[in-house]
């Protein structure tokens, strides 16, 4: 049963033990590692609150696998900034959540898929973080969000999620595969909880050069009354009838709250997913090169180092391997100008277009995903198509480093649909304010009894 931070706090010293008990019983593939000995410590805003951390965030002394065989048994000697911050705030990391291998959408986790707590025949998304919250195992989970790892999962499981502007939360210790597109975010029962945890994780970190110099402020954003909201038509293409119905209702809610909503057009929307995928493939070919069996992780037996590296790297799953090979191909001299360079140039055009739109509009909204959670056994149990299956709206916010939230906006049958709210760069507080107002007005977090 989905519960917020306050409810876990209310359970006092038993909260962590109860959370651990439930996680151990879970059979939905939500967690890779359960931190058995985790105990509540000290004070702080999250004192005694169990929190889940994605298994691509380094945790000192706790195995961190990125759901890949190539990192099996790897125990980092240091913690990521966000894991450290959680513990400093008194939170207890109770487990490491499952994810598609390295967080690459479409890749298969070495630990199997995450099942949706609302319907175990359906997927819980590319990350187990939202499922952990939806199943009431933890009130909040921290996870990176490249390609929508976090937002897509939240949309499928009916939780709120928030990824701040690029650079708000340090990536130190995050094992990212695409550094320029990735940003750590938080999923929780409510957007207020997600923002509260994001607030704890935010602030400059000298160890991450892309870290913003000032701490991001998430509260005190613009009220919805008088707010101008744009609905990019292109983000509605291919959206299922069921999800579209929930979205139409959401638009009415925003108007009821005093916002004016207008359909707009983003000329470059069609390029967002392909550009995202090309850049992610290129960057992953370099970021995943360090897995060679030399210094950490499993090492394949071989007669010479060339063979040792090749055999060790065969531990990558097939989708990840193909993504790396695609990246290598795209970065080679013969292709670079036609694909990677063009993608970087187009990325600049996409950013420019977003900037222009945010001159006239405060926020952009769209369905988070085109459809509700697919079947667990469906065609996308580790396939390349899932790469681009969700929505241009997800890729756009990544490319431009924009703050984006997703909140539940209704149901299609038993399954939740998500509403994505994107704000201008560094306008994180406006996104949070709008999402909070929407949440207060609607009641979609509540139908927890279904779980």
């Amino acid at each position: 049963m989905i519960k917020d931070i306050a409810s876990f706090k209310a359970a006092g010293s038993k909260a962590v033990a109860e959370s651990l008990e439930k996680i151990k019983k879970d059979d939905s593939g939500i967690f890779i590692t359960v931190c058995g000995g985790a105990e509540s410590s000290g004070s702080g805003p999250l004192a005694g609150v169990p929190i889940a951390v994605s298994d691509n965030i380094s945790t000192k002394g706790i195995e961190t696998t990125c759901a890949s065989k190539i990192l099996k048994g790897y125990v980092p000697p240091f913690s990521g900034k966000s894991a450290d911050d959680l513990e400093k705030a008194g939170a207890v990391i109770v487990g490491k959540t499952n994810l598609t291998e390295f967080g690459i959408l479409g890749a298969a986790s070495a630990y199997g898929p995450v099942k949706n707590p609302r319907d175990k025949t359906k997927k819980g998304g590319p990350s187990g973080s939202a499922a952990a919250v939806a199943a009431g195992l933890v009130p909040a989970a921290v996870c990176s969000d490249a390609g929508g790892l976090l937002r897509v999962s939240a949309s499928f499981c009916g939780t709120a999620a928030f990824k701040p502007s690029y650079g708000a939360i340090s990536r130190f210790g995050l094992i990212y595969y695409t550094g320029s597109l990735d940003q750590i975010g938080v999923t929780a029962a409510t957007i207020s909880d997600a923002a509260a945890v994001a607030d704890i994780l935010s602030g400059n970190d000298k160890r991450d050069t892309t870290s913003l110099p000032e701490k991001m402020l998430y509260f005190g954003g613009k009220p919805l009354a008088g707010c101008k909201i744009g609905i990019p038509e292109e983000f509605l293409e291919g959206v299922s009838a069921g999800v579209m119905k929930t979205f139409d209702e959401a638009v009415k809610t925003f108007e009821k709250l005093g916002a004016s909503c207008r359909k707009i057009s983003l000329k470059n929307a069609g390029y967002m997913q392909p550009v995202h995928d090309i850049i992610a493939a290129g960057e992953s070919s370099a970021m995943l090169a360090k897995y060679d069996g030399t210094r950490f992780g499993p090492r394949a037996e071989a007669d010479n180092w060339h063979e040792m590296i090749a055999k060790t790297r065969a531990l990558f799953g097939p989708v990840t391997a193909r993504r790396i090979m695609l990246g290598i191909h795209l970065l080679m001299a013969g292709q670079y100008n036609d694909y990677y360079m063009k993608s970087m140039q187009t990325r600049t055009l996409i950013i420019d277009e977003f900037n222009a739109v945010f001159q006239d509009y405060d926020l952009l909204i769209s369905p988070t995903t085109k459809d509700v959670a697919p079947d667990v056994g469906g065609t996308c149990g580790g396939c390349d198509q899932e790469f681009s299956a969700y929505s241009a709206a997800i890729a756009g916010a990544d490319l431009a480093g924009l703050p984006a939230a997703t909140v539940p906006c209704g149901f299609v049958g038993k399954l939740p649909a998500g509403l994505q709210i994107i704000g201008g760069y560094l306008k994180d507080a406006d996104v949070i304010a709008a999402a909070e107002a929407f949440e207060k007005e609607t009641d979609f977090v509540k139908p927890q009894e279904a779980i």
Binding site: L71, P76, G80, S285, A286, A289, K290, T294, A333, Y336
Partner: protein, 481 residues
Amino acid sequence: MAYENPDGVMIGLEVHVQLNNAATKMFCSCTSDYTDSEANTCLCAGCLALPGTTPVLNEKSVEYAIRIGLALNAEIEDETDFFMKSYFYPDLGNGYQVTQFDRPIVKNGHVLIEGEDGELKIRIRRAHMEDDPGKMAHFGTIEKSTGSIIDFNRSGMPLVEIVTEPDMRSAKEARRFLDKLRSILEYLDVFDGSREGAMKADANISVNVFNGKRIEGTRVEVKNISSHKAVEKAINYEIMRQKDFLRKNKPLVQETRHYDEDRNVTVSLRVKETADDYRYFPDFDLVPMFVGGRVEGIRAEMPELPDSKRERFVSQYGISDAHAKSLVTERAFADLFESVAAKVDSKSAASWVADIVKGELNYRDMPITAVSSDDIVSIILMVSKKEISEEGGIAVIRTLLDEGGKPADIVKAKGLAMAADDFIAAAAKEAVAESPDAVADYKGGAENALNFIVGKVMQKAKGKADARLAREMVLKELEKM
């Protein structure tokens, strides 16, 4: 006379300079001085490229790169950035090297060297920043090894790679370029050239004339040569090999070769059938650097460099250009000269420091710190006051280096003090009186006879007389007669 370059030799160098004075490595706070440390002890998670580590640029290394650029008379790029250069090698933790690509921090410079036929300008195409990988050692030879070990202490060391145009025409010119470059770098305080791996060079060599006719030569790269002496030898070997191939009409291929110092040969490492594809692309972990605004501040703090110091020494101290050239090669000698020249006649200071002290130190392979300027000053003063002879002065320096001690004590202990003038005058009088035959011979025009009398004086003084003074005194005595 113009240098003909009969073989049409063209040599270009790529010199890797470790900025080991930068205190820390390029992207972390590990020490940049691992010389005396055990393998794999000067490193952190970042040096090992553990997952989740992120690079943090050492600003000092950027400043050093700018200093180098200014010293090479080059342009400094206003906005510059890092690229990832991908290749798999066990000592390259990340699987990519962080380097620069089309916007190197330094470009279009030059260095003046003494060429085969006078001053020669060696153009610098570019100099860029990059990080050093770890170091791999093989059991057996590089071609056939039974196992390898890796030391990651070097991983992440800040490097500047300086790339010249193919402006050198002989191995000697290449060596002179490297000597000059090393001298400049030491002046800049960016590196300690005495540490292992501080400077390494790759040489691109082609022979472009055959049978007196211009031909399209084949460029061969000889990699990772570690000493200046080895560079000269490797290039000479490679020129000889290419000429030999041309003579025998054997095909030369564009390839990368390794110089085997023990055997003094180059051996083929790999043939370049196609250009290596390192898949350069912008490093998204490091934001672009805007360094334009820092250049003037750094320029204002630039030390005086060898060429201008040499000119100043000649004009300010009136010493010979040969002495000035020798003194400025190493900044420490130039500094030693200046502190000595502040207290004694500058020409004596130059010849004592450049000819004697430098020679004695080199002979013993001792560092300049083995002598103090005060000691040299007191030796020069003793010589000029004729308290000791010039030979005595050299003996003092030798003793000082070999056994230690203070000049005055050494003079006393070794009995080097010269006899007083009146003693020599008296000895001269005696010697003249005792040598009537020689005096007669001398008066008769036999100049040689003088040496006999002077020898006698020296005998009486038991060698503690200045020979020139003894000669003067004898002549004075003879005039009286």
